[in-house]
Symmetry: C2
Subunit: 366 residues, 2 copies
């Protein structure tokens, strides 16, 4: 006879989120639901339930651990507000805590403060000036092929249609437009191994790297002005490695070069340029992501800039705005977090910037 | 009540070695007693017992795992025959086996064939022309500060007095005189770390290494003739390393340079030269061993060369002959092993070279 198994009800606790609360409080609530990349489901469930219960004017759907919502008011323009809900691994910096105007904790700056502002406005602006789409997505902090926004682009492309995309990545409350592209290549020099006591029998691959480094040192990067944003390029060795043993002439040396390029170059053009710079060398591409044009001449972008009362600057780091730019959508980075604190143990956000960003976006959307 | 413990006699088996046997057979017997550095005691015991029992004309002592023996015949000249008895770790290449004229196994070339020739001659030449000193020492293949010859130099200096030292390191049966010195330095370039997307805020230490590599590439090494032996110098990068992450401008790069220098330079002079070559750079010495002058003008060395019927060549690798040279003793590398097979899995020795070396040394010493 089989033993009797008591029937049990598994209760999954979905934290309650109050989207109508002060966005600073909402930021803290989001931060206090851990959501390291790949383990966002509890936070996704909480966001989905809160949107369904507290924002009945929105159409809400799920895509894996991503939560999407939108109005269908027939407005002339549609603004998409996007934020990733995952974080880097927790560094003993949860739960969140306040110190004066600062809110500390993993994900405060990168980028749950941005998520909180977007969720609060979407829930409370029941009659926005523009149609709104909310995209809260997963797995931004890890390998590009797991990125939730990429999955949405493949599976739900109609959900990404918009006239302007605002990505809540940390910018310190300033407007950073477009983004630079990034290319990583390995340049290999070759030689012939030999005992260093008989070095004339060998051919030193590390010595051959002198010319590669000299070309890097002599390189003059461009400054490119697009829509009033200046993109400063850079071509840098980020790694060099060669050597077999302390008594061996090395037969290989690898210089890893990172090219950050202005968005007036396509990915292909950037690669062609780097191939030109290192003509004659063995070159392997290990990473290539296109940049994003700022698209500030679009009417929706102009209206947003007017609401902020400031001008836009170029975004230097690569962000998911490039996915929107590739779809032809003007895309802007605008979030209350501090980019210099992202991924740090002491990560925090200035609550005054959260409130200011909320006011700016409400003026633009309300 | 405590349990009864059966009394047991621990029998350590000391292998029997026949020093009067054919030196090829003796080589195989030595190889078949494993003696990886630090674990030479069984072989030391066997050598000590064999010398005491089969060579009563020799004074025999122990120094740790080293075994020393000498005649005291009052001859005009004393010849010292030195060989390390340790090997690198066994690479599934024991016990020894014969394939035609070749004897395979760990330590065959480096350098139990040399040890066998020396032990056989010392045991069978009861009335040598020159007084003889045998030094079989431990721990040559590992850190210099554990080298048995260094310990003997400190604790038993009178045992190293001689007019000529012959070291049985593998030379393929040719005479290799003196040895080159070796100097290893780390050259550091410095910079300032920054995100590679904002590279103008940083200063790339890897780019600064271009000049270090350029100086290496432009360096013209000397060929130095001493006593008819040509020492070819070499200045080589043996390692280069720099890099923090794929998106960071590196703030440090380290080039490890190995200078192999002719023995007309002292260690200090070699270092001063390398400091000159890399003037202006941060330089750290990690290894410095002086070379050894060939000393071929000494009468004992001339007699040995006459017995071989050949001329001497420069030794390029560093060996323990430099310890004898530092004591003012002409020192020669002469062993039947093949230097190119040392430390290899397929290590072997040509038995014909063992026999030829035995004949040459018997002619010189007999």
């Amino acid at each position: 006879m089989r033993p009797r198994v008591a029937s049990a009800t598994v209760t999954t606790t979905v934290p309650m989120l109050d989207l109508t609360a002060d966005p600073v409080e909402l930021t803290a609530a989001l931060v206090d639901v851990p959501s390291v990349s790949g383990a966002e489901a509890t936070l996704s469930d909480a966001l989905e339930r809160a949107l369904r219960e507290q924002a009945p004017h929105l159409e809400v759907i799920r895509s894996g651990a991503a939560v999407l919502a939108r109005t269908r008011l027939g407005r002339d323009q549609r603004v998409l507000l996007a934020g990733h809900i995952d974080t880097v691994p927790i560094a003993d910096n949860l739960p969140s805590h306040r110190e004066g105007d600062l809110l500390y904790g993993c994900g405060t700056s990168d980028m749950k403060a941005g998520d909180a502002v977007f969720a609060h406005l979407a829930a409370t602006l029941t009659e926005p000036r523009h149609d709104l789409t909310l995209v809260f997505y997963d797995c931004e902090e890890i390998e590009a092929d797991r990125n939730g926004l990429g999955r949405i682009e493949r599976e739900l492309p109609e959900w990404l249609r918009a006239d302007l995309a605002i990505l809540g990545e940390p910018t310190g409350g300033t407007v950073e437009a477009g983004c630079q592209g990034t290319l990583r290549v390995e340049i290999r020099t070759h030689g012939r191994r030999a005992h260093s006591a008989r070095s004339w029998l060998g051919d030193n691959a590390v010595h051959h790297a002198a010319e590669v480094l000299a070309r890097l040192g002599a390189y003059s990067p461009r400054d490119v002005d697009i829509d009033g944003c200046v993109y400063r390029e850079g071509l840098q060795a980020v790694r060099i490695a060669g050597g077999v043993a302390g008594n061996v002439v090395p037969d290989e040396c690898v210089v890893t070069v990172n090219f950050r390029f202005a968005p007036d170059r396509s990915a292909d053009a950037a690669l062609a340029h780097v191939r030109d710079v290192f003509a004659g060398y063995d070159l392997t591409v290990t990473d290539l992501s296109p940049g994003a044009l700022p698209g500030l001449t679009a009417p929706s972008a102009q209206q947003f800039l007017a609401a902020t009362g400031t001008t836009a600057h170029a975004k230097y780091g690569w962000t998911d705005v490039s996915r929107f730019a590739a779809l032809g959508i003007p895309a802007i980075n605008y979030g209350p977090g501090d980019p210099n604190l992202a991924h740090t143990r002491e990560e925090h956000v200035d609550t005054r910037v959260i409130n200011r960003s909320t006011d700016v976006l409400r003026r633009f959307l309300g």
